[in-house]
Homo-oligomer: 111 residues x 2
């Protein structure tokens, strides 16, 4: 897989990049969150998923209150360099604050 540097990430006007979190083993999509440059850098350095909380307007180490830390296995970036995937080792944890494994547990059904 082609390797590129952290400095290549293109952030939105608000300084954030959307991050898809995917379990490396099951390939389940766990959540979508946003990161700024510091959160991505810390995710690489500490090997734990960091984000920027848009609601609390602060750096967010996932698991810091719940204990559900997400171990970073690798970080992928898309062809336009403006979206990321954190591949994580879920390790039996729950990614969603509701207690579900994944935040995507509802389906749209407009009938």
């Amino acid at each position: 897989m082609e390797k590129i540097k952290l400095s290549n990430i293109k952030y939105n006007k608000d300084g954030l990049v959307p991050v898809i979190v995917q379990d490396t083993d099951s390939l389940k999509i766990l959540m979508l969150a946003y990161s700024n440059e510091e959160a991505v850098r810390l995710s690489i350095e500490k090997k734990l998923a960091h984000f920027w909380s848009r609601s609390r307007n602060e750096l967010w180490l996932k698991g810091n209150t719940s204990g559900n830390y997400l171990k970073i296995v690798s970080i992928l970036i898309d062809c336009d360099s403006d979206s990321l995937v954190y591949k994580v080792d879920l390790d039996g944890k729950k990614a969603c604050h509701t207690g579900e494994e994944s935040c995507f547990f509802k389906e749209i059904n407009n009938e």
Copy 2:
């Protein structure tokens, strides 16, 4: 899986919601794009992935120029109702405009 209506989607201030596209068979993440209300409604009605192009500022039927239409199998929504997953039937097609199957073919490596 819990079912919820289209009208429950919470759009960002710009009227868009981020959409992760995932292949139903391989579970590979193919791309991240954005949809407005019309694009989501059309994706459900036509069973083909529609988005809102932020660069061209117009409704975008994926595959309309390339032929690489993405068939919608289901649409998931997250716990906060502000992110979607289009589960699609890739059917041997390439999701990325570069010719790669997935847009996520590069890895961040800051060493």
